[in-house]
């Protein structure tokens, strides 16, 4: 696969922030930091989780993952609930905490080293095996269902990641637009302030489909 960058290199969704209502603008700007100290995650857990999050969304810009980690930490510190949980899985606090330990143990068993010290490819292989519930057998998997762990980490990561304005700019998302609204919505049209595609021909060729 050819690695592709954005279609919209000149577009920054935050250029429009003056057009957003203050509640929305405030919620989005808080994602740029600074962030308070972690409440739930320990420093050790944060290091492993950060690497996992980066792999899950295939990015390594630390400023974005500062926000992702903050969001996950706040979610896990909170008591509100997690919408749904498999009857076989423990609550998310335990699933993530014990799951991170189990991932380290798995790395030890397979590669003789902790998760952070093994190769990136080995780290990816571990995550891929969890997704399909086929990771090498360790006793922890009887109480930490692999797929539930993988899905939880993935959803906890993509929600904040795709809420970061830098990512919005990259994918050409127009953002909140309240109270301004969108007016040119038909095929081929865009409001003048929206992301406009660059290098159309080159991207089409890159597509490789």
């Amino acid at each position: 696969m050819i690695e592709r960058n954005t279609y919209y290199p000149d577009y920054d969704v935050l250029d429009q922030i003056e057009e957003w209502d203050p509640v929305t603008a405030d919620a989005v700007l808080k994602r740029l930091g600074p962030f308070p100290a972690l409440e739930f995650l320990t420093g050790d857990e944060e290091q492993r989780l950060r690497v996992i999050c980066k792999h899950l969304v295939y990015d390594n810009r630390d400023d974005i993952f500062d926000w992702v980690i903050h969001f996950i930490d706040q979610t896990l510190a909170d008591e509100k609930g997690e919408y749904q949980r498999s009857p076989d899985a423990p609550p998310e606090k335990i699933l993530v905490r014990e799951g991170l330990k189990a991932i380290d143990k798995l790395a030890q068993k397979l590669y003789g080293n902790d998760f952070l010290s093994i190769d990136v490819k080995e780290q990816f292989d571990i995550l891929a095996s969890l997704q399909v519930g086929k990771a090498a057998s360790i006793p922890e998997w009887s109480t930490i269902p692999q797929k539930d762990l993988f899905d939880k980490l993935l959803v906890l990561t993509v929600a904040p990641y795709y809420s970061h304005p830098t990512i919005w700019s990259e994918i050409g998302y127009g953002g909140p637009a309240h109270p301004r609204g969108y007016y040119r919505i038909e095929l081929g049209l865009a409001d003048p302030w929206e992301a406009q595609r660059k290098d159309v021909t080159e991207k089409e060729e890159d597509n490789g489909e």
């Binding site: 696969m1 690695e3 592709r4 954005t6 279609y7 957003w20 209502d21 509640v23 929305t24 919620a27 989005v28 792999h55 899950l56 969304v57 295939y58 969001f71 008591e79 509100k80 609930g81 997690e82 919408y83 749904q84 949980r85 498999s86 009857p87 076989d88 609550p91 995550l127 997704q131 899905d151 993935l154 959803v155 993509v158 929600a159 990641y161 795709y162 809420s163 990512i167 919005w168 990259e170 994918i171 050409g172 998302y173 127009g174 909140p176 637009a177 309240h178 109270p179 609204g181 969108y182 919505i185 038909e186 095929l187 081929g188 049209l189 865009a190 929206e194 992301a195 595609r197 489909e209």
Partner: protein, 549 residues
């Protein structure tokens, strides 16, 4: 009024309290009715509860509505942002199992005044005549005790009350328009390619009826096409009971208590219900009422009835049939994505701007009965990424690749009828929540007919995209809505409530909302929920006039 602290405040989660940090409503300090026995107490201020409280207070009854979540102010509490909108959802953990375990929260259930209407897409279909008699016509499921004709005047009423926008001619079902307000136009690129694909294939398509304004009404502006229907509409262009029915009900004299979780329905010695017990900020209170209506969604309604078991009703209230919690039905909601060369910009326009119901009715050529709606569906980055990850299994490099092309995808979402099966159910688990109530456990698996219909719907969606030059990209297993669990019927051994949502077992206990659906239909259900609620309100108001409670 009882005011007994049974929960350690320090350990209490305080989930049901506040929308601003450290802010507490003081509803309980200036009660309108307080210790007084009111005519009607409604549990849940969502789609059904909102209509009920408005209609019953208009009829001159003394009504109290109790809502677990806050009384939102769209201007200060809503943000046009997917993450921020999490608070509108019912976040409490539900245990979800079965072969096709359901997802909750944004998928189907709200918390706070307005309930799910604060985050529904605004799609406002009527059911078809056949939906009410699927056993007679197709030999599956069960017939409803009511017909389309029974609901028709209430469909008319609800559409007019909130000025539904829709086409001059809607091609399917018994009602073909016109709607009170003109259809939304223009439509978004992704809805245009859907309609063009349909036209090439000879499939009829339409702009759907929407509870979203196309022109000003009642001090509210028309929609500005930002697509944040699922996040709480800040301009108030989309209807919700939060901004329509409930403020009007309060004007009519109703009292709404928020941040208060109803934990038990109270039963008198004579076997009738006498009110409810609720928890506010860690303390327990009671509201006495002559009639109690439970409108608390497909999960919390049976949960409350089962948790209210007492010596007279050891298996839970209204449960002599043993069917409380049984026969729950989501809609199959598979999302089908195709990639186009041109930008579709899924984020623009309201979530659904085109549809077809050409596959709604049973077709003898199919290997399944009943049918579905296809909705051309917009989306925003977080929801799209969640569909890709949690539902379709993408992550890492592939996920990033697809999302970099976010603007080039169009989406069609199916709303497929799911047949009722007794084993699909809500039960009480061993685990307790913050109020000490057992957490609900939901079990769901599709049947063969459901799966065959899904296959058909996904294939049709891909054909529509292909006809218009889209490349089928990925399909995500998804569901929408959740119905049933306290189904209506004429036979008390085979249903929980009658056609007026009155429980067979306890005449002054009503259950009204998504939970009374006998079958699911193949269309978004909110309008039918509200029409049923309006009909129930008429019935209860009549009982009141006759002095029967």
């Amino acid at each position: 009024m009882e005011n007994e602290s049974r929960v350690e405040k320090e350990s209490y989660v305080q989930h049901n309290c506040d929308h601003y940090k450290d802010h507490r409503y003081d509803d309980l300090e200036h009660r309108k009715y307080g210790d007084k026995e009111v005519d009607v107490c409604i549990v849940g201020m969502g789609a059904a509860g909102g209509v009920l409280i408005h209609e019953l207070s208009k009829a001159g009854l003394e009504v109290v509505g109790i809502e677990a979540g806050p009384f939102w102010d769209p201007q200060t509490d809503f943000a046009s942002d997917e993450l921020h909108a999490y608070s509108l959802n019912w976040q409490d953990t539900r245990l979800s199992g079965g072969n096709d375990a359901l997802k909750f929260g944004p998928n189907n259930s709200g918390r706070g005044v307005g309930g799910g209407t604060t985050h529904f897409t605004g799609v406002f279909y009527r059911f078809h005549e056949s939906d009410f008699r699927v056993k007679s016509t197709d030999g599956v499921g069960e017939d409803w005790p009511i017909s389309y004709q029974d609901l028709e005047p209430y469909y008319d009423k609800i559409e007019n009350d909130i000025k539904v926008s829709g086409p001059k001619h809607f091609p399917w079902g018994p009602f073909n328009g016109p709607y009170p307000y003109p259809e939304r136009e223009p439509i978004s690129a992704w809805a245009q390619v859907f309609r063009e694909g349909c036209e090439i294939l000879g499939i009829r398509s339409s702009v759907p009826p929407l509870a979203i304004l196309s022109a000003p009404f009642d001090g509210r502006p028309p929609c500005t096409n930002r697509g944040f229907c699922n996040e709480g509409c800040k301009p108030n262009a989309k209807f919700s009971t939060l901004i329509h029915h409930i403020p009007k009900a309060i004007q009519e004299g109703a009292e709404v208590i928020t941040d208060s979780m109803v934990t038990r329905v109270l039963v008198d010695d004579d076997g009738t219900v006498s009110g409810v017990e609720f928890n506010h900020d860690g303390n327990y209170y009671q509201q006495k009422a002559k009639v109690v209506i439970i409108s608390a969604f497909t999960v919390e309604t049976p949960r409350l009835l089962l948790n209210s078991a007492c010596s007279q009703y050891p298996d839970g209230l209204a449960n002599s049939s043993g069917l409380v919690g049984k026969y729950i039905m989501p809609h199959s909601g598979h999302d089908v994505f195709a990639k186009f060369d041109q930008e579709m910009r899924l984020y623009k326009g309201t979530p659904v701007m085109a549809c077809t119901q050409d596959f709604y009715e049973t077709d003898p050529d199919n290997d399944f009965v009943r049918g579905y709606t296809l909705n051309a569906h917009g989306n925003r980055p977080v929801a799209t990424a969640k569909i890709l990850t949690a539902d379709a299994g993408y992550w890492g490099k592939e996920l990033r690749e697809i999302m970099l092309n976010f603007n080039f995808y169009a989406q069609i979402t199916m709303v497929g009828e799911v047949l009722p099966q007794k084993k699909n159910q809500v039960t009480l688990s061993e685990e307790k929540d913050e109020y000490g109530i057992p957490r609900p456990k939901i079990t769901f698996s599709y049947c063969e007919n459901d799966n065959k219909m899904i296959e058909h719907g996904v294939e049709k969606a891909n054909q529509i995209f292909k006809a218009r030059g889209g490349k089928p990209a990925f399909v995500a297993a998804d569901t929408g809505h959740l119905l049933g669990g306290c189904r209506m019927g004429d036979d008390p051994t085979n249903s929980v409530v009658n056609g007026f949502c009155q429980s067979h077992d306890i005449p002054n206990l009503f259950i009204c909302g998504a939970s009374v659906f006998t079958t699911s239909g193949g269309a978004n259900p909110t309008e039918t929920i509200m029409a049923i609620a309006a009909r129930t309100a008429d019935y209860i108001a009549d009982l009141g006039k006759k002095g029967e409670f």
